[in-house]
Symmetry: C2
Subunit: 506 residues, 2 copies
């Protein structure tokens, strides 16, 4: 693998092949241990993961010591703050999860494999290192050891994706443990060791409960790290031109209706969410809780759809020039946004088909159907709105034809003067379109926050009513939801960040 | 959808959103009818497909009448001949399949839904139109009605992918009908209508057998059409610079050992393939047939691995300049190659894990394991070799540093003179490296042909031995093979074309 590479040379190919191979081998191992737990035990899977994690840690050490000195160029768009802060947050929660796992399995060392203690230890080291590594180096455009760096980054990427798959399967096993009448043969086999081997501490059960509760955050961590490693991989060898990338300052003064309405929406959403979480555990109040939850969601999603549709229309009316230059990081960003929205789309469409086929009888089912349909509409409109917004040039007053072309040639000082002039113009109420767009941005941003909070903190209406579970069988429905929902959560966070950027651009 | 678009504007976003939505809705409908055949019958699925097919046909008509006049620029790399010929070939076989389907279901009109006759009729019209459309327009870089064309192309793309999914499920249903002791509950439900309703002709059974035999070709057709629609979609709005793209002529004189060895390999492969096909149907000779098949494949794959490894080494030694310019069509081509290789990789890795976990006892199993491992190695090496080869500048004699940079500035005449000079030099045996690379190309190309023939004409060793079936369960293993194998077949054809190109470049 010492091919001298330029552009898409030998190192690029090798890194892609490496990534594909690790991913497929990981998928094969993990689905084996899910389907046939007797032949491929979790211990086998964890040994594979330990090897992978150690390799990645070694490469990150190598990078930190040897390669990073040669990094001259940085991509200012890559690794935005929200992504890095999210990574650290989820990383911390994952570390806590690993502590609980270590505590739980070290109480079973006398009768269970030591690998089950070793794995969370290595994982904790890995998460600590990787979070540090990505925080510092997410913006790097590597110019030295390009082949090795490409391979290292794809190993990191595939390592995170394999960890993600593994966590999804674990989460799924936990889900299938809970409903008594729906246990699956293979699951019992998979967690066979757990049931026979008694823990020597008394507080083991608590640890176990706790770390299962933290799994979703670990899943999010893997997705965040994968996204950042992918962007770094794309940036290897790229010479990022140093834009005097001067962001327009964030000003709340320009808007009033949007934030107020948005905050009201968030508070209402929070209140109904708490009511839902308290009522849904009691069998006789379950239906009421679901009704409340669905109605709230339908209201939120409808308002968002209307607002983003109005926003798209405004963008159409607006004759501002589009961004002409081809920005690879922006392209990646848009790709991640659309890709992540597919998680929620899959859940919604599968709901729609199941509910439509069963006839959607009763209030709960018809509301669920309406929610699913409206979610699809909302996701489409929001993607259109965000992408249209991101591809505009930042606002400039003079609209004579040709401004777009010379726009980049203006000196920063002149640019700033122009912008402050345009802001002044706006404050005097000249441009109602811009103001309306800003209001819409803030409102939709806040609505996305509440739509993020609900699933992130444990709302699972998908499992609280039975139509889909009976229609697809528990196995398939749980797989769909457990794979789709983390992407949905990632999508909401990504949307918040993108809408903030659109707000600044408009 | 009237957003004025430039670059990645509104039309682009809309087309992606459209594609994602159709795909996910199609996937939901199709998996419903596979999992829960009582609620979503094949008739529902076919109505959805009829709507989709009609939309696509309408758009293609619109394009042929209004848009194509405005096409000025053509991408010479897009829609290569092998892809178009393959499309026509598989299109013809799919048309025959549709005829058989119409004949079969028109004999059941008295007791079955008329949709089952309407669907193959519409599909036949669609295949006819689309094959014509793609044959003529595959190279177009559309400049007019860009938004509409983008949306039309993604509808075409998703339509083909939904047809592919549908065909895979049908094929799977047919497979699960065959083994008596492995029938699955849901499958019986899905084909419920067929068993009750008797055909009014006597030759119905023959028609049914015949069209099930033609399904794999229909699957290939969908994959080919998807690949071409995707490339067209990527080319919308692109201004392809008119290279005086002058291909070096194909000359067989330069090589001797490669073709002879390759043809010997093909003949041996064909002979053992015929023996395998004849013996595998008889229970007592099955093991011998499998042994012969596995040994042949292992020999072929090992020879290919060694050759491509040598080829990669030669490319490393060779100091010829790499292609500097960023060619989007070439990037797509490489992406399709690596993507298609994942089909075979998935099958091989799942085999490896199952066989390794079960211990691989007996000759057949250990040979199967060896075959799977060697296939993974071969695929990796071949991808490296092909991609390295495609990224070289066509051979030029003068190797002084800097030639790569001015290479494009040379006039075609001078270039041709140079090339003929270099060919003359080669004929005199000066450059053993180039000659060896050419020999390797031809040999590996022929080996890919025999590896294409075997699965394309019905070799299914994956279902002839039981380890994987028992390990994963028939459902999962059939899904893996039925999804992976068509991509594997596509990969072999694609490799043949790419290796031919590498042969010309070297």
């Amino acid at each position: 693998g010492a091919a001298p590479a330029a552009g898409h040379g030998g190192g690029w190919t090798l890194s892609v092949i490496l990534c594909v191979n690790i991913l497929i081998l990981g998928a094969a191992l993990i689905s084996c241990s899910a389907v046939n737990g007797a032949a491929v035990t979790p211990v086998h899977r964890q040994i594979f993961l330990i090897v992978l994690l150690s390799l990645t840690i070694l490469w990150m050490l190598f990078y930190t010591i040897f390669t990073r000195r040669a990094v001259s160029s940085k991509d200012s768009h890559a690794g935005p703050l929200w992504l890095r802060v999210g990574l650290v947050l989820f990383g911390l929660l994952s570390l806590i999860m690993d502590m609980f796992m270590i505590a739980n399995y070290s109480g079973r060392l006398h009768c269970d494999s030591p690998v089950k203690v070793a794995f969370p230890c290595i994982q904790a080291v890995f998460i600590f290192f990787q979070t540090y590594f990505l925080w510092i180096h997410a913006k790097d455009c590597v110019q030295l050891h390009k082949d090795l760096t490409r391979c290292g980054l794809t190993v990191t990427l595939s390592c995170n994706l394999v960890l993600w798959m593994s966590a999804v399967v674990e989460e799924y096993n936990h889900h299938t443990d809970a409903p008594e009448n729906l246990t699956v043969r293979s699951i019992q086999r998979a967690s066979f060791g757990d049931h026979k081997c008694k823990c020597s501490f008394t507080s083991c059960g608590v640890f176990k409960e706790a770390y299962y509760y933290l799994y979703p955050f670990n899943i999010e961590y893997s997705l965040f790290a994968s996204a950042m490693a992918y962007v770094m991989w794309k940036n290897v060898g790229r010479l990022a031109e140093e834009h005097a990338h001067q962001r327009p300052k964030f000003r709340v003064k320009d808007v009033s209706v949007g934030p107020v309405a948005g905050i009201l929406l968030v508070l209402t959403g929070l209140a109904t969410f708490i009511v839902y979480e308290m009522q849904v555990v009691e069998e006789e109040q379950k239906n009421t809780a679901l009704l409340i939850h669905f109605i709230t969601n339908i209201v939120i999603v409808s308002l968002m759809s209307v607002c983003t549709a109005a926003g798209c229309l405004l963008f159409c009316l607006d004759q501002r020039p589009h961004v002409r230059e081809d920005n690879p990081t922006r392209g990646l960003d848009v790709g991640l946004l659309v890709g992540a929205s597919m998680g929620q789309l899959v859940i919604s469409y599968f709901s729609v088909v199941a509910l439509a086929a069963e006839g959607a009888e009763g209030h709960v089912n018809s509301l669920n159907l309406a929610w699913a349909v409206l979610t699809v509409v909302q996701l489409g409109m929001q993607n259109l709105f965000v992408i249209a917004g991101l591809h505009r040039e930042p606002y400039q007053e003079s609209r004579a034809p040709g401004t777009g072309a010379n726009g980049t040639a203006l000196s920063p000082v002149r640019k700033r003067r122009k912008r402050s002039f345009s802001l002044a113009a706006c404050r005097h109420g000249i441009n109602w379109k811009r103001r309306l767009l800003k209001e819409i941005c803030v409102f939709v941003l806040l609505a996305n926050i509440i739509l993020w909070i609900m699933p992130a903190f444990g709302a699972r209406p998908q499992f609280d009513q039975t139509v889909e579970i009976h229609f697809y069988g528990f196995t398939m429905w749980a797989a769909i939801v457990n794979i789709g929902l983390p992407f949905g959560i990632f999508y909401r966070m990504h949307s918040v960040a993108s809408l903030f950027e659109v707000y600044l651009i408009v």
